[in-house]
Symmetry: D2
Subunit: 170 residues, 4 copies
Amino acid sequence: MRRTREYSWENPETSAATLGRTSGLSFLRDMMTGRIPGPPISAALGFTLVEVESGRAVFTMKPGEEHYNPIGSVHGGVFATLLDSAAGCAVHSALPAQTGYTSLDLNVKFIRPITIDTGEIYAVGTILNQGRRTVLAQAQLFSAEQKLLAHATSSCMIFPVPAHQISASR
Amino acid sequence: MRRTREYSWENPETSAATLGRTSGLSFLRDMMTGRIPGPPISAALGFTLVEVESGRAVFTMKPGEEHYNPIGSVHGGVFATLLDSAAGCAVHSALPAQTGYTSLDLNVKFIRPITIDTGEIYAVGTILNQGRRTVLAQAQLFSAEQKLLAHATSSCMIFPVPAHQISASR
Amino acid sequence: MRRTREYSWENPETSAATLGRTSGLSFLRDMMTGRIPGPPISAALGFTLVEVESGRAVFTMKPGEEHYNPIGSVHGGVFATLLDSAAGCAVHSALPAQTGYTSLDLNVKFIRPITIDTGEIYAVGTILNQGRRTVLAQAQLFSAEQKLLAHATSSCMIFPVPAHQISASR
Amino acid sequence: MRRTREYSWENPETSAATLGRTSGLSFLRDMMTGRIPGPPISAALGFTLVEVESGRAVFTMKPGEEHYNPIGSVHGGVFATLLDSAAGCAVHSALPAQTGYTSLDLNVKFIRPITIDTGEIYAVGTILNQGRRTVLAQAQLFSAEQKLLAHATSSCMIFPVPAHQISASR
């Protein structure tokens, strides 16, 4: 039996063009409330930013059959996508205006398999250390019963986004 | 302007039910040629297994807007999905029948951003060391011009799948 | 001007021979109080186990010139040694008798350089998740002022140590 | 039975003061031939740089009882020290004059235990990718029979060392 899923998204240039104009926290709040369109990948995999404060971001997702690997459970890449989002947005949420970031790495530890029966899952990203040039973030993936499903760390490099570049990218 | 994408997949229980019946290489070849349905996640993100031999697996994907993060390039989770698939299938391809595996971790190093302009990308997974209980795999993500876009290592644990369990999972 | 340092240690077979006879916590407490000789590496680099409870271990070290790399600060391997000790002993401290462990990996993030001026440093290991076959531990390296100097995670595999093997290793 | 070991080293400021004056390759060759004193940590643990070319460095060590952990084999920190040295020096060896580097992380995978019976071991560091701001290196630890004992990756950040700072550090 064949299953089908359809999803849609907005032009990602719209959100990218506002980057660096405001603080990261303001950018992410505008995304959460829908003023800035969410990223296409969120629509593709069906996950949502549900909480953000400076240095902390939380995403949720309801695992579905469409996330499955060939061996009968949610693909490790879906774990990684949620963890990378949570870690990256935790870093982003603490950045002032005119500052960008890029992830250097993502170290994922898979702890428990996820299936449809797991129910809604939560990825919580926090900052472990904020340096001048790099920020170390952590992300943890939990089930609704607070079971730890996966753990990740990610180092991000931060850099100034010159004002003229922000204008140029409009 | 709103964009839409639709995809479809087969019941993943079909492929999972054949797991362990044959060697990993046979399983992956059957998947590549379509005898066993591909995993839903491949359809969701649009990537394909194109080469497999014992200890080596290659996936390709054409980056699209649907893979984008909010900051204007392909989300790190998509890198991780391809790398995890390549590393995991390299491990799987070297397993005899009645043997399963599970990924313990995935360490991704992001080297270059990916955009639609990057064109088709390749994830090549190989085995660095095959132990009795764990296998260490590596995966590298390349552009068509052989630029290294990302690098990953992954440790997998291997374990026997008892015959009665294979029958039970039919 | 040439500097010299001398250190001494006990035969490490003495401690290894008691492994698995008692719980990990009992083993580590006996080591801390000197009933079981400390490991040679502790003497070689000058670090000490100062606290241990189930799932947590703390080591201290006073950085000296003998720990330096060629570029004027403490070598990354010394960070790793303390972090590996703290993570590994946190895991060990939670093991019952007749159970052994082995570290599968160590992921170190270097946050701040350490020099002689840093003064005494502390490596605190804790357990993030205890599974049946693997345990995920974390270790953090702090200065006396609680500045985070480095962060690590480590996955350990645990396994039964059969009674006859314990006797044999006497 | 108590064992004792003595080692000695030169003031590490001597080597640090020459940093950035020449290319990294020239610096490391001078260290290998003894024109610049080796780092104290090499003396403390007894390992030696034996090969260096641009983008590649090899260290050797003969495992001894002084490297042992409490559970009867070489401590993971010793693995990490050799791997960090090999990866870091591979990066260093490819740097022009007036350029410095710092390691951001070290991800070690432990593959086989090392004991005195292993005999001399080799850590081979190479560069996987050289970027403008970061370099990704790999290091592998081998026995004399070319068995892979451990594997590591390390990301290093590179930065200009201003000429006045080089003079100042004399």
